[in-house]
């Protein structure tokens, strides 16, 4: 594949690299850098029966769950900061038994991606000793056997083989998702990726996956990013597709480019409390919309201006009321 072939529309990238039934992970963290444009495309193409693995998910995850595409969820946290103390569609889906959910901690999930990236079957930690996280399973054996992407066991407690004291250790299983979806500030036509601000667990997620689809605020020439390679986060060879989509994380934030849209996220939380209202929202804002660009066209220019980041802050200064 030549480098130029990696640049494509979101519709093409999702069609090519995601299948129904895949194990998927999403980059970003709560209200920051959610791959919204790629998630909208997943919903339009009805990539369903997904096994999603994630540390702290919010807007993108909540939409995928609300759209009925998630069957299995391994997760540490589903909330949207102070805007949604628990993501509403996530909460409803778990309470109503619509998805199979199994809990880990943020560190444990991050270690699972790291193990996947390292090519080792598990990694040890002491996190969770004495908690129910290391005991209670949410996914039964039948499903574990059915799904290749699920580990045979959730967590195994063992003893330190290097010490006579035999200290207890928690082993978390490696995870190798089929695909990672991330949104970043800059990507090059050859797939080189640069993230500004916090990278969360994006890098380990990408390294652990069979495929990586990246959307970016700015699509630049490879030589521009290669002029300062120490600032780059993923090498070109790890990335399969590059989608140029400014505001591709909206309504979540993208450091240095725009803030999260408090009003949109708050309204989303209210709407998502009501099943019918939520269906209307997802139909009119996602399913029956041609592209993410068309969705952004429904957001007023004033709104987008009001969340534009100030260059010295990386976010939009709050106005005093």
């Amino acid at each position: 594949m030549t480098d130029e072939d990696k640049v494509m529309l979101a519709s093409e990238a999702i069609d090519r690299y995601v299948s129904s039934g895949d194990c998927v992970t999403l980059g970003g963290f709560t209200i920051n850098r959610n791959p919204m444009a790629l998630t909208h495309e997943m919903i339009r193409q009805e990539k369903d029966r997904l096994h999603v693995v994630l540390h702290s998910g919010s807007q993108a995850l909540d939409l995928l769950i609300g759209a009925g595409l998630v069957e299995i969820l391994e997760i540490a946290y589903g909330a949207n900061g102070r805007i949604a103390p628990t993501c509403v569609r996530f909460r409803k889906a778990v309470e109503e038994g619509q998805i199979k959910v199994e809990d880990y901690s943020n560190y444990q999930i991050s270690l699972r991606f790291l193990a996947g990236a390292m090519g080792v079957p598990y990694l040890p930690t002491t996190s969770g000793l004495g908690s129910d996280i290391v005991i209670k399973q949410g996914i039964d054996e039948r499903l574990r056997n059915q799904r290749e992407s699920l580990p045979d066991n959730k967590i195994i407690i063992t003893q330190n083989p290097f010490s006579e004291l035999k200290e207890p250790l928690v082993l978390v299983p490696a995870i190798n998702p089929d695909v990672t979806l991330i949104h970043v500030q800059k990507a090059a036509d050859d797939g080189t990726v640069r993230i500004d601000g916090l990278s969360f667990t994006d890098i380990e997620q990408a390294r652990a996956s069979s495929h990586v689809v990246v959307s970016c605020e700015e699509l630049v020439k490879s030589r521009e990013l290669r002029a300062e390679p120490w600032r780059n986060c993923l090498p070109h060879v790890l990335v399969d597709a590059v989608v140029h989509q400014p505001h591709g994380a909206y309504p979540t934030a993208c450091f240095g480019y725009y803030d999260y849209d408090m009003e949109h996220l708050t309204k989303y939380r209210q709407i998502s409390e009501d099943d019918l209202e939520f269906e209307k929202y997802i139909d009119s804002m996602v399913r029956h919309v041609g592209s993410f660009g068309e969705y952004l066209g429904m957001i007023s220019q004033d709104t987008l201006n009001s969340i534009a980041a100030e260059s010295e802050l990386g976010y939009a200064r709050r106005k005093s009321r």
Partner: protein, 256 residues
């Protein structure tokens, strides 16, 4: 009796007073974050605030609403990954200095926390967000401070799910299971301050706030709470209140 401050302000200041100058504070958002920023501006200018998302010692010019808010990124000493942030809690140099600030939907007498679900785990009646990094922090760091809304349904005899390990069943049980560091040090609620007995590791009332009687605290606690040591927490000083209102949360994003 009407007071010139709210219970949330009292709670924030009571917590801030317990943050020391050489502490490295692991913070979530909301009142715990206000407490850390207030401590920094009132009496502990050198304490370092960091977030599980990997931001260490940012400017915090504006109050972040999530630990991934871009407001935790500006002016930081370092941006690491989640793995870096959790390793910062575990290494022998910085780990023991970390004061982890946690919260939950339910707490028991040994400071174990539930932020996962109510009812059976596989068929819960109420689902909460889950651990996030709370279980990790509770497992790793030198000391933990817990924030709770003081209600009988939250201070319970038995948790529906142990998300974050505290002193487990008391005495040496935490150590015996393999958690050799840390454990809850203090619980700050909107009614008072609780500590843990050095031997039994059971929660007791150390301070009630001016606005809350000891009887009310006992009433709102779903387990037997020792009150023999209880004394009144000093009310906020003018200086503490003015810094909190004018410099910490001037837009009243948290303190409504």
């Amino acid at each position: 009796m009407s007071l010139e401050y709210s219970s949330m302000e009292m709670m924030t200041i009571a917590a801030a007073r317990r943050i020391k100058d050489d502490d490295i504070v692991f913070c979530g958002t909301g009142v715990p974050l206000l407490a850390a920023v207030a401590a920094k501006k009132i009496h502990s200018p050198n304490c370092t605030v960091f977030f599980e998302t990997g931001a260490i010692d940012p400017d915090l010019d504006e109050i972040p609403l999530s630990v991934a808010d871009p407001r935790v990124m500006k002016g930081a000493s370092h941006h690491g990954s989640l793995l870096d942030a959790f390793n910062f809690m575990q290494n022998n140099r910085t780990g023991p200095k970390v004061l982890g600030v946690l919260s939950g939907a339910q707490i028991d007498a040994y400071g174990n926390l539930n932020s996962t679900s109510i009812g059976s785990y596989t068929e819960p009646s109420i689902r909460f967000p889950g651990s996030g990094g709370a279980c990790d922090v509770a497992s790793f760091v030198g000391r933990t401070m817990i924030f709770m809304k003081h209600e009988r349904r939250r201070f319970v005899d038995k948790l529906d799910y142990i998300t974050s390990p505290g002193w487990l069943t008391g005495y040496s049980s935490r150590y015996d299971i393999g958690l050799t560091k840390g454990g809850p040090e203090v619980v700050i609620s909107d009614l008072g301050v609780m500590s843990f007995d050095p031997e039994t590791k059971r929660m007791y009332l150390s301070h009630n706030f001016e606005s809350s009687s000891i009887e009310k605290i006992v009433d709102e606690t779903g387990f037997n709470l020792d009150i023999d040591e209880a004394q009144q927490e000093p009310r906020p000083t003018k200086n503490e209140l003015s810094i909190l209102r004018e410099k910490v949360d001037p837009l009243k994003l948290i303190l409504r």
